[in-house]
Symmetry: C2
Subunit: 405 residues, 2 copies
């Protein structure tokens, strides 16, 4: 039964809909399934013991502060540490340009809340991160393709320049520069989602969009790029700690919105994170990179070994994802159904990651959780599912070619 009073709010209630893919994801990580579906970090990499020791320290020494309300912009020492990291990464700035958010998901929500009115156009890559669409959708924008002509109503461009979720792709420097030029020409805000930036395990680092922007425009206060960082992929997603680095005029507004949304990020979580990262953070990142490098290599090997001709895939230099493209005529969602039923292997179909003009022949594979042996076995099974469909499509095509269709 649903209360009849909700009828009056039907316009609002029906506007909010579950993402099919998120509902699906809940089913994919069952224990008997070899899964490339989840995009979550390997918990074996969490610095659990260190967090436990620091938790005890913080509560012992500063419990009254750690358990009390705190300011909406976030803990000053955490913001200073982040500002120093940003500075070292080519973005000279101080803590006034940093707001702490509940993961980078909240950064995207606050940015949507500040900059989007209903019907404004958000430009996104094809494919793009599903969770960003989830954050922006609440403000009822329209979407456009980042690579097409920029419509007059475009306000904001959202990009994941490093080892993108879902494509694993890294945007080359020249493309970053062109994007900044276009953003300037069309008066766009650029949202740089840097969720995986610290997880480069191959190749040479590209400057962040914000670093290039600062270099062009002369300083962070003139920059139009809002950089969204997070500790979710490097420390622990459960602490819900991310940040935005942007001109202070923008940060000040985001802080006010943050205050209205949830006052502030958990004080104790901020204090614990600030102490954990104060020592040995770079060595910790090296361990993560080594881990994901091994897993990524195992997946590249397995794909090369098992996949039939006509299947192509990305070769990420960091992050957690490989993007697979299967020949025309196959469909990611149908492949998933078959893969689960016939081979007990899971992945995420690519179509939901498109804000515009979905491409059904795509799949997202994550190598963050399974070990190398499972990666090989899972890819072998997936290859079998794809090969069977290709053979069927091939025989159908041959059959059609005989003129008896």
């Amino acid at each position: 039964m649903t209360a009849p009073w909700t009828d009056r709010f039907a316009d609002r209630m029906t506007h909010i809909r579950a993402s099919e893919i998120r509902e699906l994801l809940k089913l994919l990580d069952q224990p008997d399934i070899l899964s490339f579906a989840g995009g979550i970090p390997d918990p074996a990499l969490f610095p659990t013991e260190r967090i436990q020791a620091v938790c005890a320290e913080v509560l012992e020494q500063t419990g009254a502060q750690a358990l009390q309300y705190s300011v909406s912009e976030g803990l000053p020492e955490l913001r200073r540490w982040i500002a120093a990291r940003m500075t070292a990464d080519g973005v000279p700035c101080d803590e006034g340009t940093i707001v702490i958010t509940a993961g980078s998901q909240q950064a995207l929500d606050l940015i949507g809340k500040l900059f989007l009115n209903r019907g404004d156009v958000v430009l996104a890559e094809r494919p793009t991160y599903l969770g960003a669409l989830g954050a922006f959708n609440a403000y009822e924008p329209a979407y456009g393709d980042l690579d097409s002509e920029v419509p007059a109503s475009a306000r904001l461009a959202y990009v994941v320049p490093d080892f993108a979720n879902p494509s694993g792709r890294t945007m080359p420097r020249r493309e970053r520069e062109r994007l900044l030029e276009r953003a300037e020409a069309h008066g766009l805000v650029l949202v740089e989602d840097a969720a995986y930036r610290d997880l480069r395990f191959a190749g040479t680092a590209e400057p962040s969009l914000l670093a290039l922007d600062v270099a062009r425009s002369g300083g962070i206060e003139a920059a139009r790029t809002l950089y969204c960082g997070t500790f979710s992929k490097t420390l622990s997603p459960a602490l819900r700690l991310g940040w935005v680095c942007a001109p202070q005029a923008v940060i000040d507004k985001l802080v006010l919105l943050k205050q209205g949304c949830d006052l502030h990020v958990s004080t104790i979580n901020q204090m614990v994170a600030a102490r954990v990262i104060a020592e040995g953070y770079d060595a910790h990142l090296e361990r993560l990179r080594a881990h994901y490098r091994t897993r990524a290599a195992a997946m590249q090997d397995a794909l090369a070994r098992h996949m039939p001709l006509g299947v192509t895939w990305s070769k990420p230099q960091g992050g957690m994802f490989v993007w697979l493209t299967v020949p025309e005529g196959l469909d990611g969602a149908q492949l998933l159904e078959a893969a689960l039923a016939e081979e007990r292997v899971a992945f995420v179909p690519g179509a939901p990651f498109f804000a515009t003009d979905a491409q059904a022949t795509t799949l997202r594979l994550s190598y963050s959780l399974p070990g190398p042996a499972d990666i090989d076995e899972g890819v072998r099974r997936l290859a079998r599912v794809i090969a069977a469909r290709l053979a069927y499509a091939g025989s159908n095509a041959a059959w059609a070619a005989t003129g008896r269709a």
Copy 2:
């Protein structure tokens, strides 16, 4: 310098403004000031040692889960515990009617996001909680007085029925029932902010609005009241843990919005809270009530002893606040200025707590932080400031009455 690109977003940027009173509050809790300004719980009451022990346990036993992503609706065991409490408090329900939020502040934001379109009218008490206005303002509603005629564009009524912030007032049962009748007649959603409900230290408990609603409508699924609870006043604000109890059809939508906003509340914080409250929670609440009972009594005594004739104040049966009304002609904001300069005593002027038709002759005093001796001394000083203005106003009035004005 502000980036020229922000000009294009001036409509959005100027819409978001700092609340003067929040800016002011930052200045009021200096160590040399006797302050009745802060509305925060006494940190001496935080169960710090227990939280520390449980933190260690949770990380030791279930670190991989505690530090990982979790579901947007919140930890099942925490939601079940809350549902059982709600059931015991007159609202038969299960965990499907509960979503965990980042404090009740986020509950208010999500409710605004779900139900408010620009220009919709929100009805509020006079005075009302400033933070609720902060949450709703992002959706650009208009405000109306809960006690006046209900306009056709009214969508939502927001109330704090128990020991309200800032008034300390408790809504009598008959008024609660009338409010439900009016909400039904006008198709309103009722938002019940129960932030202080567990802190009753005198008198007899009134049924919650949601309990009365469920009794009238036949069950939670037909209820139009959205109950917002929190652990911020009872356990620790820093954990950022609150909840909404409402029909499942509404909860399902709030969960989707929550997912877009920040994915979920900190997993470890939820796990720690669930364990901490599993044992001895009622005894803990009794300690809190005894503490606030003593402080409230000290303030009532001091007010009766020191305040000049013509000043009146509320006598709360719970919570943290006394609401003071001074004679016409005096002004809360001017009194604060004088109180800080002349007597080093602080409080919050009442005017900002009005969504409509502000009453300048009001002050909010909190007794949560100062001890009984400081309460007496602070009230004595404040009374001196008021008495001086009254004498001055009186002499002016006498002067005016002589016809020489």
